[in-house]
Symmetry: C2
Subunit: 513 residues, 2 copies
């Protein structure tokens, strides 16, 4: 009886303890996909208006050249003006009309609906992207050519990481030499590795139909695909400055017809293919993406298109790219504000390290741009984890550690909740006046432990003494062990055997599962 | 003649190249001490008002206990109310009166005036601080006891680093066992290592007069010291929650009388000695520092006092401190906003790593809070470099790499300049329409190369190919080499020999130079 009474008395706290040991409901987790940023605003309202005005002037007076004939036809029919110099110019009223028609909210679907991304307002999502041509061997301190297996591995790792919300293809399968087979196998490897939303990037327009056929097979049929397209295409539709990328535009047209969301990606490099001042690089990226908005909406009003201002930064000493710089972080955050100004879902690049290895430099570079992108409310933070050597090398250990890094960035995005409860006056009063004089065991402390605080998975918080006692663990070795554990298990995302077999019969799939 | 004509034609660019090779004037450097932040605002205006209101209520209803009798006398004479429970309570009108009297701008002097810090508005300064008891031996992966020589070394390193703007004592000289000699030697080692502003923290009130005598000797005489006090005292004047630290208050009174600026340091730990919710920890820190403002200004209205809300964060799983967390970054940035609300110069902690070594975790932890503190416009960012194991270990390599990290953070603080020039419309026009189609050699690019872009000193931006060619340099080894070079040269800050001799005759100085 005494036992029971003791247990009953302890019941409240024991029950709370048990509740805390159980996984939290998604809406109670301290961080999750789609938290709202927007507390960081590098640009004033006047700055934004001036950038907008300069971009409109650039579109009206400079315009863009080298659109494919099909694109010229679409845009001229909508009201753009083709000059004798071959440049298409865009009257302000046309840009404003098309902004009114453009999709303001976009859902990027996961193959599993629990991974759907709702792009609107200041909602922040982190994911991979890029076209690295190397994989970093951290133990051998070596850069080797990236392969299809690496892509599949990256997809599988992303599938297990809570704070990576989508997988855009981060590296190129250089062992696939046929470009059509590269496009097919890229999608296959990504979709077999994760049920999160996948981004790809087609090499040629003619490759789109076959790949879309494969997507129909993965979805079940075309209608199911069109209802929930789980792959988007990253279109480098411009070659900055102010030139359409003819072939990529043709790819984009095919994607639009196939019901695939597109990323309007303008990847100028400040000081090389974009103006060197940060403001100028933003102006050009905004102008180019506005041209993209006109293009897309003159084909299919409201088609889901992400405003992809991705200006990069040059190290002006060498002309080489520096994705890890503070200037990059500012560019990306400034672009996010422009997306909000237009009310369009937007994406840009952050999280790139210039460092060759996952060292201290990589840590500060990746956090700088990632946290600033998140705080600025960027909807899609691309290249957020694993990317080294200014986009040339992909590192699986860094990707895994990136989950901790992005969890912390997301905690910062979530921000500070100020409520009567969190202001804590009553707790302070009870603690200080006749109370224990500390907050360690207070109900309030216990209640926020899991819902307001996030705990890293691999990052080490031990004291020096504890750290020595557990053998001074090495961060990178811990990440390698985690990688081996993930890759040693079976992918949870593989296609059902019948579909897989059908795909393999029709297409040349290079990946053995 | 032809030669001369060629040289004359090339003259403009050659002259610009030569100008770029010369060191930039201070006002042209891309980053410097005192850049203005304030673009990041985690708290809304309503949040700020609610925190202020809660802090006033806490002061009025809860108050603080354990003030020394001298402090009680000062504060009660000013209008505070001593309760039967021994707690001093502060009517709102008193707090508001004292806020009106408090110093709104403070200059923290360097021994060399070029290092003076002008604390006002959103001006940001980064520096060291703390009381680490270990030094990190990176090669041996070991934590050893910190010594006076380490303190001197840290000071000398800080003296050479552009992006460290002050030296508050970051570690404790554990080899000095007599506490009076510890206080004397701490100041001596700091001032012999750097001419930047020095922060110290006296152990006992009775040690202040002797140390101040030494400061008079370093300055030349008392009047010179009082005109430009180059050492401030960090006063942990409260033991949170809501208790004065009796002895530290007595130290503070002595410092005020000696003309020394004070840091009103409230170092609660959310979830342990402060409420666990971030908002509540800010409320308590603000309330405690407001009590400090009343205290200081009831002794000497307008005495320079830094509003030192330094709430830390607990890892609520263990109760141990986690200075590297996202929650810490939010706490610090939120506090910076409260400083602005009061119009008072303020300081808080950022840049702390939980990581034991200068690894990737350290990099992301240090950048997260440092860049957020800077963007929030924190006047004094304490503990910004070198600090590991949640304040227990100091690492010289990390301090040196911190200069690159903080340079990048400062570049972000500087932000995006939007002007007719930087919008770059004319450059775009010239480049795209009949121009070269890129910006690599444009005058604009060359002109912003040094003034708008910052280049890291040790962080590596080579391509994988170049990196392999130069032997795959290791970041930490490069930092160790830099450390050895700095410490292998003579300190530029040593006292003049006559003063040094006089100090050594009067005080027991343990440091051999």
């Amino acid at each position: 009886m005494n036992d029971q009474s003791t247990s009953r008395r302890a019941g409240g706290r024991a029950a709370r303890r048990a509740a805390r040991a159980a996984p939290l409901a998604e809406n109670l987790r301290p961080v999750r996909a789609g938290l709202s940023g927007g507390t960081y605003k590098p640009l004033s309202d006047i700055d934004i208006a001036n950038i907008h005005e300069a971009a409109l002037t650039a579109l009206e007076e400079i315009g863009l050249c080298e659109a494919p004939q099909s694109g010229i036809d679409y845009m001229v029919a909508a009201g753009a003006i083709l000059g004798d110099d071959g440049r298409i110019r865009f009257p302000r009223a046309l840009v404003e009309d098309m902004l009114a028609k453009a999709a303001k909210t976009i859902t990027l679907h996961g193959r599993d609906p629990k991974h759907d991304l709702d792009l609107r307002d200041d909602r922040v999502h982190y994911g991979t992207a890029g076209a690295a041509v190397h994989v970093v061997d951290v133990e051998g301190r070596n850069y080797r050519d990236s392969t299809l297996q690496d892509l599949f591995d990256a997809a599988r790792i992303v599938d297990t990481l809570d704070n990576l919300h989508f997988l855009q293809r981060p590296l190129v399968a250089r062992d696939i030499t046929d470009n059509y087979e590269l496009d097919l196998n890229t999608i296959y490897a990504c979709c077999s590795g994760t049920t999160k939303h996948v981004g790809t990037s087609f090499v040629e327009p003619d490759f789109v139909p076959g790949c879309v056929d494969m997507l129909h097979m993965i979805a079940g049929d075309e209608a199911t695909w069109r209802a929930r397209p789980f792959v988007s295409n990253s279109n480098c539709f411009v070659v900055p400055p102010m030139k359409f990328a003819t072939e990529s535009c043709e790819v984009m047209e095919r994607c639009i017809h196939a019901g695939m969301p597109v990323l309007l990606l303008s990847a100028g490099q400040a000081g090389a293919t974009a103006p060197a001042p940060i403001a100028g690089a933003i102006v050009q990226a905004v102008a180019e993406c506005l041209a993209g908005v006109v293009y897309v909406n003159s084909i299919k009003p409201g088609h889901p298109a992400i405003f992809g201002t991705w200006p990069f930064v040059s190290d002006l000493r060498s002309g080489a790219m520096s994705g890890g710089s503070g200037e990059q972080a500012l560019l990306t955050a400034g672009c996010a504000q422009m997306h909000k100004f237009y009310g369009l879902p937007g994406g840009a690049a952050a999280g790139i390290a210039d460092a060759k290895l996952p060292d201290m430099q990589a840590g500060w570079e990746q956090m700088c741009s990632n946290v600033m992108a998140g705080l600025s409310g960027l909807n899609m933070v691309y290249e957020a984890a694993g990317m080294h050597a200014s986009l040339l090398g992909y590192c699986m250990e860094s990707l895994i550690l990136g989950d901790d890094l992005l969890g912390q960035a997301l905690r910062c995005v979530r921000g500070i909740e100020v409520t009567t409860d969190t202001l804590s006056l009553e707790t302070m009063r009870a603690t200080c006046m006749g109370g224990p004089g500390h907050y360690l065991g207070s109900d309030q402390t216990l209640s926020v432990m899991q819902t307001e605080y996030i705990y890293p998975s691999l990052a080490d918080r031990t004291s020096p003494k504890e750290w020595a006692e557990v053998g001074k663990p090495d961060l990178i070795k811990a990440a390698t062990a985690r990688k081996d554990a993930i890759l040693g298990s079976v992918s949870a995302a593989v296609l059902d055997p019948v579909t897989d077999q059908a795909i393999r019969e029709r297409f040349n799939i290079h990946l053995s599962l």
